[in-house]
C-alpha cells in the first residue's frame, strides 16, 4: 500500500467521522432549536381546513382571536414545561396511567378532565373529579370552550393552550 493512499485515507476517515456527527446533528437540529423557532409559526390548524391559515409570507398575527391552538403547555406543577402538540384527538388528564397527560398530583383524580376539539375549538370537560377543574377562576361544570392562554387548573397543575 503506497504511503500516500494511507495518509489520504487516514484523514478521509477522520473527516467522514465528523461528517457523521454533523449529519446526526442535522437530523435532530429541529429538536435542538425547538424553542427558538416557535416565534414565527404560522401553520394551518389541522383538520380545520386552510380557511384560517395565513400566507406564509405574512407576519404572525398579533390578535389571539381566530388562531387555532397547536400546543398544550403545562405551566405549573410537576410536569411544568411539558408540551403536547395538539392533533384531532381528545386529551385526557388524570392520574390513571393511560391518560394522555399523566399527572402525579395529590389533588387530581384518576380520570380528572379531558380536552376535546370540535370545529377547531377546544373544550375542557370535567370527568367528575373530586377536587374540580378550573378554567382561570371559574369551576368547569360542563364542556367549556378554552381560549388561548387561559390557565386550566387541576390540583397543583396548570395548563394552557398556545398557538
Amino acid at each position: 500500500m503506497p504511503e500516500l493512499v494511507i495518509t489520504v485515507a487516514r484523514f478521509g476517515f477522520l473527516i467522514l467521522l465528523w461528517i457523521f456527527v454533523f449529519t446526526v446533528v442535522g437530523v435532530i437540529r429541529r429538536d435542538l432549536f425547538a424553542g427558538a423557532r416557535s416565534g414565527r409559526l404560522v401553520a394551518a390548524p389541522r383538520g380545520v381546513g386552510a380557511s384560517t391559515s395565513q400566507p406564509p409570507s405574512g407576519k404572525p398575527a398579533k390578535v389571539k382571536r381566530g388562531r387555532a391552538a397547536h400546543q398544550m403547555v403545562v405551566t405549573a406543577g410537576q410536569l411544568a414545561g411539558t408540551r403536547i402538540t395538539l392533533g384531532e384527538a381528545q386529551i385526557t388528564i388524570g392520574r390513571a396511567e393511560d391518560s394522555t397527560l399523566v399527572i402525579t398530583d395529590d389533588y387530581a383524580s384518576a380520570r380528572h378532565a379531558r380536552l376535546v376539539p370540535r370545529d377547531g375549538q377546544w373544550y375542557v370537560e370535567d370527568l367528575g373529579s373530586t377536587n374540580g377543574t378550573y378554567l382561570d377562576r371559574a369551576k368547569v361544570t360542563g364542556p367549556t370552550p378554552v381560549p388561548l392562554g387561559v390557565p386550566i387548573r387541576i390540583g397543583r397543575t396548570s395548563l394552557e393552550l398556545r398557538p
Binding site: L14, V21, V24, A44, L79, G87, V102, R118
Partner: protein, 497 residues
C-alpha cells in the same frame, strides 16, 4: 397494535410544530444514518488491514456487513414496534459498537503471529467474540422492545427489579474471591470453565427503574417538607433515610468490591434521579458532599488502617503521581497516557498504533488504544457521539408525558454519560482510574448487553414521547382522521383511585 393501526403522520402535521414531538417518524433518516455509520465501520476495518497487513484482504467487509445486517434488523423491528422512536439513537450506538468491534479485531491482528494474520477468522479472538456478543445483545434489545410495549409497564415490576438489583450487586461481594475477583475488583460471577458475567451492569438498570418508581411516589414529601438554611432548602432528617441507605450501599460496593467507579455510578445515578424528581439543588450538594466525604474517609482509612480500604488508597496514590513508579504500580496509567500522547492530534492512523504495549487495552483502556490511532480529532468525534446519545435520552425525558418515564429516561441517559465520564476521566488522569467499561466499545458481553437494553428502553420512552396523541385509551384507539367525539351525552364516569 400493528404498524398499520398506527396512522401515518398526516402530511399537514409535518409542518413546523413544537419540535418536542415531531409527528414524522423519521425512520428513513435513521436508515440513511445507519448506512453511513456502517460505511464508516467498513472503512475503518479496511484501513486497519491496509496498515497492519499491508494489503486489504477480500473479506475485510464481512464484520461490517454482519453488524450492518443485525442493525438493519433492529431498524426494521423499530419500524414495526416503535415507529416514532428517536432516529439518532440507533445509528450513533451502531457506530460506536462497530468501531469497538473493528478495534478489537485490530487488537487480535496485532497479537497474532505475522504469518497467521491474514487467515484470522471473522469470529475468532476478542473481536470475533465481541461480534457474536453484539448479535446477541441486539437480538435481546429487539426482544425487549417487543415485550415492553409501553414503558409504564416497567413501573409495575419496580419493587421486584429493585430487589433483583440489590441482590445482583451483593452477589459478587459475598462470593469468595475465587469466583468473583479479577484484577483486584470483586465485580464478577465466575463460573469456572464457562465464563464470567458482571452482574453490576444489569443491576444498574434494575436499580434505576426502582429509583424512578420510588421517587415518583415520594417526590411530594421530598420536595415540599424542608427547612431553609442559608438560602437553600434542606430536606427533613427522616426523608434522608433512603438516600443514606443508597449511600451506604455504594460505600459497601467501594469497600467490598473494591471498585470506586461502580460505587460512584450507583450513587450519582440516585442523586441525579432525586434531583430530577424534586428540582432541589440541595440534593446535589448533599450528594456531592456525602460522596467526596466518603471517598476521602476511605482514603484516610486506607493509609492508616489498610485492610479493605487499601485498594482504594493504592489507586488514589497512582492517580496522584503515576510517574512515581512508572514500571510498577503506575505502569498501566503511564502507558495509557503515553499512548494518548503518541496519538497526538490526528493519530497514527487505524492499524498504525501499538495496542499490545498497553495492558487491558481491550477493556478499560480501549479509549486510549483507539485514541492512539485516530488522535484527539477522532476521539472528540466519538465523545460527541456519546454526548448526542445522552442528549437524545434527556430530550426523550423532557418530552415524555408521565413522571415515571421522565425519571427513567433522564436517569438512564445520565448514567450512560456518567459511565463514559468515569472511564474516560480515569484513563486521562482526571479522576482515579477505576475499572469501568467504555459503553459499546469495550470487550465484554455483560456491559454490551446491559447497554443495549438501556438503549432499547430509551427507544421505547422516546417512541412514547414523540408519538402523536390519538386519544387517551392507547395509541391506536381511534384513527386520527375520524370525527371528534360527541360531547353531548358523553358518559361522565366517576372513578376514584
Amino acid at each position: 397494535m400493528t404498524a398499520a393501526a398506527v396512522p401515518a403522520a398526516s402530511p399537514a402535521s409535518t409542518g413546523e410544530q413544537s419540535g418536542v414531538r415531531l409527528a414524522r417518524s423519521r425512520r428513513n433518516a435513521e436508515l440513511s444514518l445507519l448506512l453511513l455509520a456502517m460505511v464508516l465501520v467498513a472503512a475503518y476495518s479496511a484501513m486497519i488491514e491496509a496498515k497492519a497487513l499491508d494489503t486489504i484482504t477480500g473479506d475485510f467487509w464481512i464484520p461490517a456487513a454482519a453488524l450492518g445486517l443485525v442493525f438493519l434488523g433492529l431498524h426494521l423491528v423499530i419500524r414495526w414496534l416503535a415507529p416514532f422512536a428517536d432516529p439518532a439513537l440507533l445509528p450513533a450506538v451502531a457506530l460506536l459498537n462497530g468501531i469497538g468491534v473493528g478495534f478489537l479485531r485490530r487488537f487480535d491482528l496485532a497479537q497474532a503471529a505475522p504469518a497467521e494474520r491474514e487467515d484470522l477468522a471473522i469470529f475468532a479472538g476478542t473481536g470475533g467474540r465481541q461480534l457474536a456478543w453484539t448479535l446477541a445483545s441486539v437480538v435481546l434489545a429487539a426482544g425487549l422492545l417487543a415485550v415492553l410495549r409501553d414503558h409504564r409497564t416497567l413501573s409495575r415490576y419496580a419493587y421486584t427489579l429493585g430487589l433483583a438489583g440489590i441482590v445482583l450487586v451483593m452477589i459478587p461481594a459475598i462470593l469468595p474471591g475465587r469466583f468473583s475477583e479479577i484484577n483486584g475488583a470483586k465485580l464478577w460471577i465466575i463460573v469456572p470453565g464457562l465464563g464470567q458475567i458482571q452482574p453490576g451492569e444489569f443491576a444498574k438498570l434494575a436499580l434505576l427503574t426502582f429509583f424512578a418508581y420510588y421517587l415518583v411516589r415520594k417526590r411530594e414529601v421530598l420536595s415540599l417538607a424542608s427547612r431553609r438554611v442559608l438560602g437553600i432548602d434542606f430536606p427533613r432528617g427522616r426523608d434522608l433515610g433512603p438516600v443514606l441507605v443508597v449511600w451506604l450501599i455504594s460505600l459497601m460496593v467501594l469497600v467490598f468490591e473494591k471498585d470506586l467507579g461502580t460505587s460512584l455510578l450507583y450513587f450519582g445515578m440516585f442523586v441525579v434521579t432525586l434531583y430530577i424528581a424534586t428540582e432541589r439543588v440541595s440534593w446535589l450538594l448533599i450528594g456531592l458532599l456525602l460522596f467526596f466525604g466518603g471517598a476521602y474517609l476511605a482514603y484516610v482509612l486506607g493509609s492508616t488502617v489498610g485492610g479493605p480500604f487499601a485498594n482504594f488508597y493504592d489507586r488514589a496514590q497512582i492517580w496522584l503521581d503515576p510517574f512515581a513508579e512508572p514500571y510498577d504500580r503506575g505502569y498501566q496509567l503511564v502507558q495509557g497516557l503515553l499512548t494518548l500522547g503518541t496519538g497526538g492530534l490526528f493519530g497514527a492512523g487505524p492499524g498504525g498504533g501499538q495496542p499490545t504495549l498497553l495492558p487491558e487495552v481491550q477493556t478499560d483502556f480501549i479509549f486510549a488504544g483507539i485514541g492512539e490511532e485516530i488522535g484527539l480529532f477522532g476521539l472528540s468525534a466519538l465523545l460527541v457521539v456519546y454526548l448526542l446519545i445522552v442528549e437524545r435520552g434527556l430530550r426523550a425525558a423532557l418530552a415524555v408525558r408521565d413522571s415515571f418515564g421522565k425519571l427513567l429516561a433522564g436517569g438512564l441517559a445520565f448514567t450512560l454519560g456518567l459511565q463514559v465520564f468515569v472511564i474516560v476521566g480515569g484513563i486521562s488522569k482526571l479522576i482515579p482510574l477505576t475499572g469501568q467499561t467504555t459503553p459499546f466499545l469495550s470487550a465484554g458481553g455483560s456491559s454490551l448487553m446491559a447497554n443495549w437494553l438501556l438503549i432499547a428502553v430509551l427507544l421505547r420512552v422516546s417512541d412514547g414521547a414523540r408519538r402523536p396523541v390519538t386519544g387517551g385509551r392507547g395509541p391506536a384507539a381511534r384513527p386520527a382522521g375520524g370525527p371528534p367525539e360527541q360531547l353531548h351525552g358523553a358518559p361522565t364516569e366517576v372513578i376514584r383511585p
